[in-house]
Amino acid sequence: MRRAINIVPGSGTRILLALLPFLLIACLYVVVSAERQAANPGDKLLPPIAEMATSMDRLATEPDRRSGDLTLWSDTAASLQRLFIGLGTAAAIGLVLGLTLGVLPVADAGLSPLVAVVSMIPPMAILPVLFIIFGLGELSKVVLIVIGIAPFLVRDLAMTVAAIPTEQIVKAQTLGASTWQLMLRVALPQAMPRLIEALRLSLGPAFLFLISAEAIAAESGLGYRIFLVRRYLAMDVILPYVAWITLIAYLLDWLLARLARRTFPWAYVQETRR
């Protein structure tokens, strides 16, 4: 009998093993839901799968009576728009400030304590401030996402850039690089893969801030819908919405991972060797 650490599953077994826990959870849900329905036909807590499917079908295909939109898709579009603008802005700030702090010692001395302090402000605590300053519209939600993740991106990228071996920085100078050229051709390309990894890590917090802002003040969006139907204990909408949000986040994460490996193959050499 081999040691447990030496038993490595093949690719087929691997997929099967990965699916197994999902199937188990699904089965468990179906069984428990059926039991509750049997005990109380009006149970709202764990609606049967069929009921959730009908609700989602209605939200996805029937125009809303008031606005005429297809609710699921308009909610998704509104949320994703906020998310992408927020993530994009935060990435741009992270990249510019991170590079500057990582490359220029003067900028680092002047700004990194500030960034360190700002990154400790709990973003949710200043949400009211954002609502007061930017109103209840789209801007305040986007700003919340930016404030929530930009400081992390700045610090992470500054550390990544500062960790580029001195030998490379000196070498670039002996090849005649100016500070600007060095940032553009040496620091920036080496920061990019890390930026994508940091964005992947930020997806969770970004969704957290998005849903929170939508829960408090919005007219559309995935978070808005969940908190709206909460009043009617509409688990048949809430649970599929949560699953939908999770699926979107998972797909974004997967896409970013693929993008990074395709665009910056040199950064993942160690991985493919393993």
């Binding site: 030998e167 000196v170 670039a172 002996t174 005649g176 051709r185």
Partner: protein, 268 residues
């Protein structure tokens, strides 16, 4: 021309004296090997010529002009590790030197200029024997190939001085011999001054036209940081036969040094 003059140079980090009172002239086109025990300041000496560090006292001149306080294209360098860019492939690693020179804002070349620069880069790769690996990333190269690339890169801007910081220290003996066979003709053809720090005495004697040995002639056991390293041997290797000693800072009378040690021992 690329004559280096080092005049009364001291290097101190706080209380610690690393180099004391180093003075020497390095003739244009010399191949200077620098040897010495670990931590005796030979790499510090190299970094001072490179401009990465500034001497605490004294001046260093290159062709009569004081060295600028930062690295520049007149002094090329090959480090033991990490001196090629991991995000660029082999040809891009050399091409970037021309891009820095000719494209101040975007640091990228296009069209005819790019083709011209690519040809120069490929010629350099040919010279170091890397032509067939032009599209590989450095991570796919062996240690010796990475050092070949680093050399091609360092030669791109035609530096007056080439600084080598234990360039072949991490290579196996066979590859090291190949690198020796590569570097010597490159140095001869280009007429640059080479300063090479090494731990390998055979390499130092085999390649150099001049050998500098750094060591600390005096050590105070109570305060080891009080005395720095000097040049203890300066050998001319350019002629056949017995090696004449060019300069040689006379050991600070061994008697006084040992008396000092004894005195401090008896105090202790």
């Amino acid at each position: 021309m690329s004559e280096i003059r080092v005049h009364n140079v001291w290097m101190e980090y706080g209380d610690q004296i690393v180099l004391e009172n180093i003075s020497l002239d390095i003739a244009s086109g010399a191949f200077v090997s620098v040897v010495g025990p670990s931590g005796c300041g030979k790499s510090t000496f190299l970094r001072m010529i490179l401009g990465q560090e500034r001497p605490t006292r004294g001046i260093i001149t290159l062709d009569g002009a004081a060295l600028p306080g930062e690295p520049g294209p007149d002094r090329g360098v090959v480090f033991q590790r990490y001196s090629v860019f991991p995000h660029l492939n082999v040809v891009q690693n050399v091409l970037i030197a021309f891009e820095f020179a000719e494209s101040p804002f975007t640091a990228k070349l296009f069209g005819a200029k790019r083709r011209a620069a690519s040809e120069k880069a490929e010629a350099l790769l040919q010279a170091v024997g890397l032509s067939e690996h032009a599209w590989k990333y450095p991570s796919a190269l062996s240690g010796g190939q990475q050092q070949r690339l680093a050399i091609a890169q360092a030669l791109a801007r035609k530096p007056k001085v080439l600084l080598l910081d234990e360039p072949f220290g991490a290579l196996d003996p066979g590859t090291r011999a190949q690198m020796h066979a590569l570097i010597k003709p490159l140095w001869r053809e280009r007429g640059m001054t080479v300063i090479m720090v090494t731990h390998d005495l055979k390499e130092a004697f085999g390649l150099g036209t001049r050998l500098l040995a750094f060591d600390r002639p005096r050590i105070d056991p109570q305060a080891p940081e009080r005395y720095g390293a000097r040049i203890t041997y300066d050998l001319d290797l350019s002629r056949d036969g017995p090696v004449p000693v060019l300069g040689f800072s006379p050991p600070i009378e061994p008697s006084t040094a040992s008396q000092e040690t004894k005195r401090s021992m008896s105090h202790a």
